[in-house]
Every structure is written in C-alpha cells, then in structure tokens.
Symmetry: D3
Subunit: 168 residues, 6 copies
C-alpha cells in the first residue's frame, strides 16, 4: 500500500474559509497533507510568517494528518525534499484555472514525477480570496463567515483594537 | 493509514492516449483506480461495451492497482457501491472545465462524501478526444500516436480490413 | 415615473429552484415581470406547455407583479407586443455567458430599443439546469432541493407513480 | 408602483464613450441612476475627483434621471445610504465578467438586499477601457470616438497645450 | 519571393457578412485565398452545394485573388492537394476559440507543414453565425445587414415567395 | 504578386523558445517578418535593449526574411513607417486571447488598414512566458529547454558567474 503525501502551497495572508474547506477535503484524499506557507510571497504581507503559521496550526489541529510548514524558493524543491507525490490546488473561477494550469505545466517540466491535483472548495466560497477579504475588511466590512473566527479576531487586533462594526 | 480508491469514469469509445496518460497518473496518486466504462453513454457507440473492456484491460495490464468495470445509472451510486472516496477527471480546455465543474457540483449535491479530483493529461494530448479521433479516422487520417496501437488496429478492423493509408 | 416591464423567457422544462430564485430577484427590480414560456423550444418536452404554465403559476403566486405567458416565434416580437423595455436573463457559467451575449446582441440588432439585463441566481444554484435535473432524475437521483416541491411531485407522477428513492 | 434607484459605480478616469453608452441604457431601465465616482480608486489618477465630476455632469446633463456623486469606502454602504436597490455594471469581455461576478457575490454577501444588474455597452465599445484610452493617448494616438469630445479636450489640456496630432 | 496560398474552409450555409468581411481581410494578407465549402458538413443543409458556390462566386467576384472550391474528407488533404501553406479561420467568441485551437492542433498533428492563421472579423459581426441567421430568419426576422443582399434574396426565395416582413 | 511584410512585436525580456517557434512559423507565412522589440516595455528590464537585439539577431540568423528592430511609442506608427500590412501575435491561453483581441481592436481603430494575424506556438510551449522564465530562474531552476541556449548562457552571466544548478 502506498502512503501518498501532498503539499498544499499558498500565501494564506490570511487563511480564508475557502482554504480551510480545501484542507479538510484534501485531508480525506491524502494520507498526509502539508500546508506550505510561501514565506515572502508578497512584498508587504499583512501577517508575519509566524502569525500565519500560528493561525493555520490552531485551525487545522483537528485534522490529524495535516501539518504546517513554510517555504521559499521553488515549490518543486520543497515537494522533493518532503518526498511528496502531489501538489494540491483549489480551483474556482476560470481565471484561476488558467493560471493554475500554467503553473502546473511549469512544475511538471521542472519535476515530472510530481502531479498537481485540483479540488473544488464549497461553491459558497467560490468568490473568496485573501486579497478580497483584506480589501473589504480595510473598508470596514465584517468578514464573519469569510474567515475562521480566530482569523477575524487577529484581523481586528492588527488594526489596533478596532471593534467589529457590523454583525450578520 | 488510508486506502484511497478512486473511480475514473468515461465512455472510452475509443480509449485515447490522453485517457491512458491520465490512468497512469491516477494510478500513482491513488491506492486503487477503477476505470468505469459508461455502458450506454452514446446511442450508437463505435465499440461494444465488451470491446471497450477488452481494449482497456489489455492496455492497462501493467498498472497493478488499476481495474476495469462498467456501469450505467448514476455515477455516484457506482462510487458508493465501490466504497470509493474520489472521482478522477481529466481537464484540458476551458469548455471541459465548465462542464466538469457542473457535474462535480451536482455529484457533490447527490453524494457529499465523494470528492472529485482533477488531473491534467500531458499537454501534447490536450486537443485529443474520442469524438475527434473517430471523426478524423472516418475521414481517412492516420490515428497513430493518438490512440494506443491496439486501438488503432481495432479501428481498422471495424471498418472491414481497411489498411492504414498514411504513416507518419 | 416610469413603469418598467421586463420579460423573463425560457423553456422551464421543468422550472428549477435557480429559475425561481431569479424570478424573485427580478420581481424586486422591475415593476412587472412576465415569465415567458417558449412553447416549442425542444422537440420532445417532458412537460406540456399547459403543465409548465400551471407549475409556474402555482409557485410564483406570491409575487404580485409576476405573470406567466407563453410565446413562440421571435422573442423581440413578444417583447414589443407587451410593450416591455427589458429582457431578463440569468447568468451563471462562462459558457452561458457567451451564448447569452450572442443572443442579446442579435436581439439588440432586431430591436434596438429593448435592453437585455443580466442577474445572478444564488451561487448555490450555479450548477443547476433543467437538462441536468431531468438527466439525474431519470437515472434515479432525488431532485429534492433542486426544484420546487410541486415540480418534484409532478416529475414523480410523470414517470407513473414511481416513488422517491432517496431522501436527503 | 416602485421607484427603482440604481448605482453605477466606477473610477471614470476618464469617462469613455462606453461608460456614457451604459449610462444612457441604464437611465432607460431605472427610475433614478446615480453615477458614483470612486474617489481614490487609483493611487495616481489622471483627473482629480472634481474634474471627473465636472466632466460627468456636463456629458450627462441630458438624462434627467441621472445624477453624479462620489464615494469612498464600501460600495454597499453607499448603496444603502442612498436607499438604492441595484448596482449597475457593464460587462464586455470574459475577464471582466469573472471579476464582476466575484465582486457581485461579495456584495451580495455584505448586503443581500442589493442586486447587481449587468448590461452590455454597444459592441463597438467592447474593447474600450479608461486604462487603454490613457495608454494610447500618452503614446500620441488620437482618442476621437473613444471618449466624449469634452473629455478629449480635457486630455489635451492636461498635457499642457499639446495639440491633436492626428485626425481620423 | 514567396507565393502564399491560404484556404478558408467553412459550411457557408449561408454566407454571412461576417464571412465576407473575413474573406476581404484574408485577400489582403495572402497572395491567393481559396474559399473551401465543406460539401456535406450538415445533414440537412438549407442551400445545396451548387447554390452556396454560386452565392460565394457572385459576392466575391471583386476580389481578384479569391477563388471558390468545394471539398469533403479531411481538410488537410485538400490543403495539400492545393499546395497551400495556411488555413485561415475567423475567431470571435471564446467558445469559438477553444474549438478552433483544438482543430488547429489536430490539423498540425496531421499535417505539420500547414499553419492555421486566425483573423478577426469586424466587431460589429461578432455575434453572427450561419446557424443564428437561419434561426431568426425562420422565426420571421429581417436579416438585412446580417448577410449580403443576394443571400437575403435567396433566403426569401427558398421559403417560397415569402415577402420581407420588416425593414430596418 | 504582393510582398507581405509583418511585424511581430514584444518585449522579449528574454526571448523564449515559444517566441522563437512563432518567429519560425511567421517566417514561412510572410515575405518579410520584422521582430520589433518594445524598448521600454517594463520599468526594470532584465536585459538591455542592445542585449535583447543581440540575442534575437544571433538566434534568428538562419531565417533569411527575418529582421530585428526596436520601437517605442505606438505600435501602429511603427507598422505604418515600415509599410507593413500585418501584426503577428501568438495566442496560447484564453486570458492571452482576450487581451490580444482588445489590443487588436484598438489597433484596428487606430489603423484600420493594418490586420492582426494570430498563430499558435507549439503546444509544448503553451505555458511559457518571459515572466515565468525569469521567475523560476531566479528561484534557482534550470531553464534548459525553455529558452535558446544562448539566452540560458546570458541569464547565468547576468547573475554573475552563477553556475547551472541542475541539468535535465
């Protein structure tokens, strides 16, 4: 019997409910799932690497085969180092899809033995992205239901004691 | 440790090199892969169910965790009967992708415990489909390189001893 | 003040929850909404025109500004006869969208004074279509949650007293 | 009878003929149409907020139910403050469409009582965008026919008395 | 100096203004352009092969380097027989585009020395297709501006002396 | 007989095997092909204009009807100055395609006598872009097979004597 390990890479700045949904789905299909946080994906991340690790650890504690790691450099190098066989990616919109295919093809060129596997998050999260969450939060919207409660809390703390403006 | 079984459904009328490529990729990611031939997908198939089973058996013999089955009715009923956790589908073009998402969402509605997992065939097969293979073959083109050799042979036999017209 | 009447055309064979959702949304934006059933859209409809009218009437009774009508021939002729200013269409997937734009542009050419207006059904209905509903129903799946209860009942009656196989 | 007010938001930096076309179409469908200029959409706008307001006022004077306003912050807050029922958006290309759906779904999450309504500009404006207009203008191309005459004039004034290089 | 001959294949049942626009554009780029009518593309064409040849001949007479031919079988066989170097195809919508790429890739596989070249018809014809023209004509709409005048006339004759219902 | 000259514009920072493939295809269809390097397309190019010219010259020497030039300003001004009839562009993904159509329509508006002609690179290069090449190279991946050998060498020299890390 095989033991299939998959890597789920991303920036997770911050983790959304869409990410969490995909982690749960991935944890059912693979023997081990490593969530790999891209350290310096954006020039000016909202959360530090350590904060993102902490939030992911706390919210994925219940999945026994999920671990959290960080990486920079080439994704395929990380995958090989971990002796993983698959990269897990979520797909939602068409534009996602094109970018994802391009990355998957490049990764296949760089590491032909690694497969990229796509899964769909719940359709109710199909419009969610970290960028959009940050954008509406900065404009004063509630992000309840868009991110895990812990992330919501951390977002309010980031902006210095700001109290939630609206509940829904 | 888990034992993940996946179903790869399709008409396979006929099996193309794109299908075969995906079967190989799937056999590496899953513990067991059941290729499930939809019995009466088309009103007037070129190959009978038995012929399609035989061709798939012969060409996938080398993959020890791949088995061939047939089904009609709802895919999710077949998946549940086999206690499989995943449905494997290949994605290539955008139009595929939309149809695949629609089917995956419907299947998730009908059987929420079953995940659809997408993988990419080799890019050199991105334009291949059973329908297109049949169409160009009927117009007299060589299908060498588009389908496994055995399928090529069976195609010629189907059309009554016709000899290959062109080699490339 | 204006009095804006809009036409929502379709086959409605059968009405799905996605259609119903769009009718509700449209009834809030327009003063009058006429649901226009295309009489002979398909060669072999599952429900007769009269049955479709009856199901739409029963399920839209609560919307006071919604009426049900039937038409054949050119949509823009029907729109003009009703002195309506707008055609309402739902958009979900990309493939929809292209077809919808093509029809909207043709209708604009045929009747420049008529505007096509697009609205989105709830995202949870994004994968629904009458064709898919009929297909999975015929294969024995429950369509609970996909169509209004009345339509579910009529579907079972159509297939001669067949009892629901599964509840979810 | 209802009185439907819609908000047409955008940066309008600068207003193009595509925008103007959509404003005219919207003014026919809604009782009131508020063109809402996003104050600080871009870091370094070509025209100030006041200039954009002035150009929009001058070019939409003929539509009696169209008013011009500015906003920053969340669009749905502006919509609610104005007791509007709908957000009007133009759709042209597929890439637009995806982004528009994402925004519409997020806005529906933030304010479920607000509907986003999509209309098509004239097909001859399908390739127009403010960004592209600025880009070709900066490279010395005539923008006659791409923007209203007043905007063309203001563009020339911006770049300090530059005279039009080409007429077509 | 080279002498580049291109083939523009299609059903042309009937010829639309979009086709004609592309023929004109192609005639400027290539030394010779052969419009190749696919003889039996549809099971039940509206116009016979001879009628389609006649309409294309009459409307393209002014382009001195354009000739009309018919073919069945593989397109690449026709291209090779004519010693042409390129296949010309019009692209409009995304869905077109995907189908066109698939066909172009298959043709490249069958005849690597033949290039497929894509051009865009005028944007005002972007929604036109032979199928849509036939459909609205059958429902009683005027097709003025959608097809050449000669084709319009032949359409009326086909349906037995029917007189044009509307002018615009 | 005509003498068709086409312009193939781009940044070529750096030239990839996908570009080179398209240049070869274009050189077979047109009498003359001018590769036009956009001088200051990006704020901070990796290679200087002179370096890009040199690399293109060296790798296209074998195509006798291909010349290399540079431009800034409007593409259509360059096309007119060169008395070229066509602009050649490669299309790969859908997202490309939309952007390409938009540019082609704008260019047609600015210079109606110039046609944009699209061709497909080899499908094995469908995921390649200069940006992606630079990105994976910077992360330490081998770019063998993605760019011409000369470009690979120059990339290593750029990063100061760094030696290739991996061969495949």
């Amino acid at each position: 019997m095989k033991r299939i390990k998959a890597i789920y890479p991303g920036s997770f700045d911050p983790l959304t409910n869409g990410h969490l949904d995909l982690i749960e789905r991935g944890s059912k299909i693979f023997d081990e799932l490593v969530v790999a946080i891209l350290s310096n994906a954006e020039k000016d991340p909202l959360f530090t690497e350590a904060e993102r690790v902490a939030m992911l650890r706390a919210t994925t504690r219940k999945y026994r085969n999920v671990t959290i790691a960080t990486f920079d450099g080439l994704l395929v190098d990380f995958v090989r180092k971990h002796k993983a066989k698959a990269v897990l990616r979520g797909i939602r919109a068409i534009s996602d899809y094109e970018f994802e295919l391009q990355m998957a093809l490049m990764n296949r060129k760089l590491a032909p033995e690694v497969e990229t596997v796509f899964m769909m998050p719940a359709v109710s999260y199909s419009y969610l992205s970290s960028r959009l969450v940050k954008q509406v939060f900065r404009l004063g919207a509630s992000v309840k239901g868009l991110v895990p409660e812990l992330v919501e809390q951390r977002l309010y703390e980031k902006v210095n004691g700001r109290s939630p403006r609206r509940k829904r």
